[in-house]
Subunit: 207 residues, 3 copies
């Protein structure tokens, strides 16, 4: 129930930031709705396709897709305000990431999959929406260069699984993961944490 409410907040916020990315590419309303929806529910869609978890969330609950499309189009009229509320959106984005990670973990657990795959499921749910957004908008995918999402999705998922393993109830594990994950993500943003990166120059391609 808590998670469902936060999920709707999360996809709305993600759809709004997705719409801004579409606006930078001067897309029309269809493009705006597509990028908004891909950003918000694309990660969960890729996860469900990889796991063979049908029907997809938005196919079973079309209102999720309606929310992301409406949020996208509304954003075209509110772009200035959204930019002014940047601090709020960074917070909502952090919350959304943890909510998506917990949901991704739960979906894989409900299918009886290995804990490692549960964590990968969290990562895909949390980080692949932004990857899809950048691919459709033909931007260099941020998630591959400035690590702020994937590791935190993995950490949140691992924490959640550990707390359940320790015998805590689902509501306690969920709440604790939300708080710790949110703080971790905000710290990563503030202190600009990032993974080491790999620079490789070569004249000769290997493939």
């Amino acid at each position: 129930m808590l998670l469902s409410t936060l999920y709707i907040v999360g996809i709305t916020a993600e759809a709004m930031t997705g719409a801004l990315a579409a606006g930078k590419q001067k897309m029309d309303w269809f493009g705006v709705m597509l990028v908004a929806s891909a950003t918000a529910i694309g990660g969960g869609t890729v996860r469900d396709i990889l796991l063979g978890h049908y029907p997809l969330g938005w196919v079973e609950n079309p209102q999720f897709l309606v929310i992301t499309c409406v949020a996208g189009v509304v954003t075209t009229g509110l772009a200035k305000w959204v930019v002014k509320l940047k601090g709020l959106f960074i917070r909502l984005d952090a919350l959304g990431l943890i909510v998506f990670s917990i949901i991704g973990t739960k979906v894989a657990m409900s299918m009886g999959l290995h804990p490692f795959i549960c964590m990968v499921s969290a990562l895909v749910t949390g980080a692949f929406g932004g990857l899809l957004r950048d691919l459709i908008c033909r931007q260099t995918p941020l998630v591959l260069h400035k690590e702020l999402y994937a590791s935190i999705a993995l950490a949140a998922s691992g924490l959640y699984l550990t707390l359940l393993e320790l015998g805590l109830t689902d509501i306690v594990a969920t709440s604790a993961t939300l708080v710790v994950g949110y703080l971790l993500r905000m710290a990563a943003v503030r202190f600009k944490w990032c993974l080491p990166s790999f620079h490789f120059e070569s004249e000769e391609p290997l493939h």
Copy 2:
């Protein structure tokens, strides 16, 4: 039966325009066949994957994939003629869009899905082939900037669903949707109808 015949005409025409896009990228024959097939049957493939509607059309009926590959390679020898027949191809493309939309609607209906999802299914079937073509060819996706496809796919699907709801037989609803949708699409091309677009400039990224 009518729809099956028109479907084969539609995928052939789409495959030929896809092959020309591959030719602009100087692709080899494999690239030509891939882009031709993605343009023609990629939309239906994405739809079936999203809906979990297996087996895919071309897996069950491999002749569809043979048709798109052959149409693609044949186009490499006929490119000049295809360009001269531009008016015919615009008409076939309009016809194909409506045929794809009706088929997409029917597939989702046969799975008992919500009418809104049936319309999304039509849109994906009709518009995502071109999106895939542009992603593989590394072109700015036309469908996101110059709206000529997605809205008409939605309108055709909505009309078809409404006519069935009003109690018309499938053949009447299909024929009426084909005629009205085709004229709508040709009007959109002629009068350069387009959706409003969203331009957004900002120094600071939100994500």
Copy 3:
């Protein structure tokens, strides 16, 4: 058993070349692991999604995904050595292509699909990992321009199917396909065999 061993060798080698491609884009470790895994097991993943063959290989056997992620990260420290061993990697890549093609053929056969679809399944398994790598790294897909993969995957698959049809045992057909396919691929590399390509220039887009 032979095929399983060679499969692990193949995905390790592919993951290492994928990691170098990520390094050219200055990706972080998450990007390196994603591109390494997409290159090595992305072709099989796309095949399984297209065929509806669930669960995916790496979901059922998470160790495959662990191998590709570890191989990717290890490569960041060994890049110089990998480049020096270029000749070895070209050989491993050739071997991997044939192993992937045989596995792709076998998966489609086990689902009772048409021989043409079995060959397409081999092609997707063998060639789509590199296509995914180039799409994520925003490179012009090599596989669409310099045909060294797709035709050989098709030929290997066709040979394997023919040998089985002639009544040979699976181990004999597999071994013969491995040897012939490997030599064919190395000949294609050495003699720079390629498919004819299609260049098309036009002012007016058809779509």
